[in-house]
């Protein structure tokens, strides 16, 4: 099935909880209301026409005015992809977890929580995965400012060129 057909099918079923179907090139996507993402995904997983068996990729993207979580879904049986998006506000972004449908969401959502700061409700083990446990801040946000030191180790150093120049004098 073409991605657009999948989105039409979802729209038939869920009506106005599908906020937008964007027919962009190269990949068309579909924006879903954050509160109903779990139902939509459960429908896509169970429906024999779409039968999405794998969550191929889940990314968090920080735009200036919102944070988006992008889900790339894939079906091994029918060999089609679908791209769903969820738009969240930048303060306290929060969406329900998809862990119960596809287990691969477990670690991917941990990564999004760690790097972008999205809170996933219902996640079994939401803690930082790539950054150290006591890190503050979410690095992949556009307004992230790196702290000047971490546990007493400075994260900045003066440019070696300046030091070489200083030595020459």
């Amino acid at each position: 099935m073409e991605p657009l057909k999948i989105y039409e099918r979802v729209k038939e079923r869920f009506g106005e909880r599908v906020l937008e179907i964007a027919d962009k090139k190269p990949d068309p996507f579909c924006v879903i209301d954050p509160k109903s993402i779990v139902e939509v995904c459960q429908f896509l997983h169970d429906d024999p026409e779409t039968s999405i068996d794998a969550l191929s990729n889940e990314s968090g993207v920080d735009y200036e005015d919102r944070i988006e979580v992008v889900y790339h879904l894939f079906s091994y049986r029918h060999r089609h992809t679908a791209v769903l998006k969820v738009k969240l506000p930048r303060e306290n972004p929060s969406v329900a977890t998809l862990e119960n449908i596809w287990k691969s969401a477990n670690w991917m959502e941990r990564e999004i929580f760690d790097l972008v700061g999205v809170n996933f409700e219902g996640h079994s083990d939401l803690r930082r995965i790539l950054m150290p446990e006591d890190w503050e801040g979410h690095p992949l946000r556009k307004d992230f400012v790196e702290p000047l030191e971490y546990h007493g180790i400075s994260t900045v150093r003066e440019s070696p060129i300046i030091r070489l120049d200083a030595g020459k004098k």
């Binding site: 962009k24 990949d27 889940e58 091994y76 060999r79 670690w107 995965i129 950054m131």
Partner: protein, 372 residues
């Protein structure tokens, strides 16, 4: 006499360890030799490559992609190149595509050699490791002549490859392939059917097919569980439809389908298939340019795309968001080892500590892929 403590031990298989494939850490809760759980702790190799992409631009990111998975760097190069080409609708010339396929398949053989070699070494057989690395050295020599580097190649560019095949390289590559094919049989006869090796690997870490798909396991791990899925065949890209090759899957000859021995055999058989592809590609390569004309300040139109490349460790998904400027807005790489690590915590229940090492080796986990 004080009471005997019989609670479970908490062991730390720390970030520096002779066996784990890269800098990985496991917190093992063990009851003697049998583990209750092995909780992975990743992030020791996190270099924020995705954030760097937002600073260096499209062309400048190509060397960084090598470091996402330094063992099979050609595939990461190819993924980034293909993502940018899909965004900007650039078409790669045919000879460029052939060069990409040749380089990529050589890299696949090299990566699988390393994987099976280190698997042998983790099980305790030191000899197959050295034999596999001997063959890998020869491939490294070939690729060094092609692009100048032995590990982080930076060979591909957006729109094709950087350099054409040097004169005489084709003959050397074909000679190497003639030499390599019987070596695989020798490797097989040396270790693959050894009773001790089979006992160590059969029925360890069984992953049924539905679970593998649910956990988004890809590549030889998925094929070892019996799912016949290969992006090169099923969602073909580049010039792979031109080639005739088979996709080996695990058949559970020594144990259950989806155990470590199946994943190991899939890698050995995949090397044979790569040799087939390489022979066909090297003999049929057309002439022509290898690099499409791409402007230096590359500004793809705003949009986003996802690309999947069949790397040696599985299907690597590249998600690139472009905002119309010369710097990407967001790059996200989803690699096969990330999903495999997510599965280890569940698989390790009830295994012995010696099996954990065999399991990690059979899943062919590489730390830079997980942490980026």
């Amino acid at each position: 006499m004080s009471t005997l403590h019989t609670e479970e031990m908490t062991l730390n298989m720390g970030p520096q360890h002779p066996s784990t494939h890269g800098v990985l850490r496991f917190v093992i809760r063990a009851d003697g030799e049998v583990m209750r759980e092995a909780i992975p702790d990743v992030g020791y190799l996190h270099r924020s490559i995705e954030k760097i992409a937002e600073k260096v631009g499209y062309h400048g990111f190509m060397p960084y992609t090598d470091r996402v998975d330094y063992v099979c760097a050609m595939f990461t190069n190819q993924g980034w190149g293909m993502a940018c080409e899909k965004l900007a609708k650039i078409e790669v010339p045919r000879r460029g595509e052939y060069c990409r396929v040749i380089a990529a398949e050589f890299n696949r053989i090299a990566s699988h050699l390393l994987a099976v070699g280190t698997m042998g070494m983790d099980i305790g057989a030191f000899t197959p490791f050295v034999h596999a690395l001997r063959e890998r050295e020869m491939i490294n020599d070939l690729i060094e002549e092609l692009c100048g580097a032995r590990l982080t190649f930076n060979y591909m560019r957006i729109g094709g490859v950087a350099w054409d095949l040097p004169p005489g390289w084709r003959e050397k590559a074909l000679a190497y392939l003639d030499h390599f094919d019987p070596i695989l049989d020798e490797f097989n006869s040396l270790i693959s059917f050894n009773k001790i090796f089979v006992e160590r690997l059969a029925n360890i870490g069984v992953i049924p097919a539905e679970e593998a798909i649910n956990y988004n396991l890809v590549g030889p791990n998925l094929r070892g569980s019996g799912v016949k899925w290969d992006i090169r065949k099923d969602l073909p890209y580049s010039v792979y439809p031109d080639f005739d090759f088979d996709v080996p899957i695990g058949q559970g000859q020594w144990g259950v389908v989806g155990d470590s021995m199946d994943r190991y055999m899939v890698r050995i058989l995949e090397m044979k298939e790569s040799v087939k592809i390489l022979c066909q590609a090297l003999t049929r390569i057309p002439s022509g340019p290898v690099l499409a004309k791409v402007v230096r300040n590359f500004k793809p139109p705003a949009g986003e795309c996802q690309i999947r490349v069949e790397s040696a460790r599985g299907d690597m998904g590249w998600y690139v968001v472009s905002d119309g400027t010369g710097y990407p807005w967001r790059v996200h790489v989803r690699t096969g080892s990330f999903a495999a690590m997510g599965l280890i915590q569940k698989l390790s229940r009830g295994l012995m500590i010696a099996d954990l090492v065999a399991l990690i080796a059979s899943l062919d986990v590489i730390a830079p892929e997980i942490d980026r």
